[in-house]
């Protein structure tokens, strides 16, 4: 959950970091158990970064979009372990990246997925790197207009993420010693999260769509469609998608889920 610099890494639930350490995709010579340091628990519309997905899905105060995103995010065991802060910082499921191909995210000069197997990859902002961001929780929080508080600053959740380029391959804009401490959301009138998966229970999102209705309209957040969690101003923006041959079906999924989600929140 955020690098602390000098070879030290913060560990919260560890559900992503421990396998990444073992596979040599992340290096650390020291781990700091963050659960004793970062806030956890729910206080109105503020959520401690150390709150587990299981705690969030069980709390009736939490908007439906976020509860459902937590409930569908992973297996019960992983939801008992994983924290909301860690979920926002999880690494891509791109198999080329996970198998340590020298792709752009690993500092190389090619995106293997674009020419290779990319059925689960991005349909937006996929020119440089076609990986898809897996966080259901981030999609829900984008729709819920969330802000993220860190040990240094506070700002919109969208600002936590960045698209990679030649100068910086990171997908997250977080300092080496900066930690997410709290997430704040705006309480909607109604919200929902819909997720298309390869199987019925706990798989990563092919496409996930969160919709939240406010006084001024419906806000949408998507998972599985871009290298970072993706916000849409309206479903019309889906026309700007740039699907690869193997991901054209995702556009259809996003349209269908988007229509259903907007109808579900009465938008």
């Amino acid at each position: 959950m955020g690098a602390l610099g000098n070879g030290t890494r913060g560990l919260a639930g560890g559900t992503d970091l421990v396998p990444l350490l073992r596979d040599g995709l992340v290096a650390a010579d020291r781990l700091v158990d963050l659960r004793r340091v970062i806030p956890s628990g729910i206080d109105g519309t503020a959520i401690g970064a150390g709150t587990t997905l299981a705690e969030l899905e069980a709390d009736p105060q939490i908007p439906d979009a976020l509860r459902e995103a937590c409930r569908l995010a992973a297996s019960p065991q992983l939801r008992n372990m994983g924290t909301i802060g860690g979920n926002l910082l999880q690494a891509t499921r791109c198999w080329y990246w996970r198998l340590n191909y020298p792709c752009r995210l690993h500092g190389g000069d090619v995106c293997h997925a674009r020419e290779g197997q990319h059925r689960e990859h991005a349909i937006f902002a996929n020119d440089y790197c076609a990986s898809a961001h897996p966080s259901d929780v981030a999609a829900a929080l984008l729709a819920l207009d969330a802000t993220v508080e860190t040990t240094r600053a506070a700002g919109p959740l969208a600002g936590l993420y960045r698209l990679p380029d030649d100068h910086d391959r990171n997908l997250v804009d977080l300092g080496a010693d900066e930690l997410i401490t709290r997430i704040h959301y705006e309480r909607p009138e109604q919200s929902v999260y819909l997720k298309a998966m390869d199987r019925k229970r706990w798989a990563f999102a092919l496409v996930g769509v969160a919709a939240a209705r406010y006084d001024d309209g419906v806000r949408l957040g998507l998972a599985g469609v871009a290298p970072i969690p993706w916000r849409l101003a309206s479903l019309d923006d889906l026309e700007q998608a740039t699907p690869l041959p193997g991901t054209a079906y995702k556009l259809e999924l996003a349209r269908a889920l988007g229509r259903r989600a907007i109808a579900a929140v009465g938008g």
Binding site: L11, G14, T15, V18, P19, L21, R22, L31, D33, R35, A54, A74, S75, P76, Q77, L78, N80, M81, R201, W202
Partner: protein, 144 residues
């Protein structure tokens, strides 16, 4: 470090990065906990940490030194064990300890779970022999 397993305290020397599953099996000889995928997908290594199902293969042992761990050995007398036998809810049996550990947390919180609730709570325990209908039956009838 100190590790509390099934109500008993143990002192052990664990190197950096050692998993809870390794500590249970190799240091404490509690081999009822199985490791199958080793990366947090299959649920075979499920143990309870403070009563909630956790994956011991991706839990670093140093992170649970102040918490209570329950393994299948601690559930020896749980009625679910008999229910799994009675319903023939296993074939090879490798996933069974993890299944029973997850099921024990479910029936503790919800003694009469519906089929849907069972499926939701047990979604993180894979059985490659495909005994899911019998696992569901064993959990539904665990007190019979």
């Amino acid at each position: 470090m100190r590790l509390t397993v099934n109500g008993e305290q143990h002192e052990l020397e664990a190197p950096f990065g050692r998993s809870l599953a390794e500590a249970l099996r190799d240091d404490l000889g509690l081999t009822g906990t199985k490791v199958s995928c080793g990366e947090g997908h299959c649920g075979a290594c499920t143990v309870l940490v403070d009563g909630a199902p956790h994956l011991s293969c991706i839990t670093l042992v140093h992170t649970v030194d102040d918490r209570a761990v329950t393994t299948i050995e601690g559930l020896r007398d749980h009625p679910l064990v008999d229910a799994f036998v009675r319903c023939d809810a296993l074939q090879c049996g490798f996933c069974t300890p993890g299944q029973i550990v997850s099921a024990s947390a479910l029936v503790e919180a919800n003694p009469s779970p519906s089929s849907d609730e069972i499926r939701h709570a047990m979604a993180g325990n894979l059985c490659r022999c495909g005994t899911y209908p019998r696992i569901e039956e064993a959990i539904r009838t665990w007190r019979d």
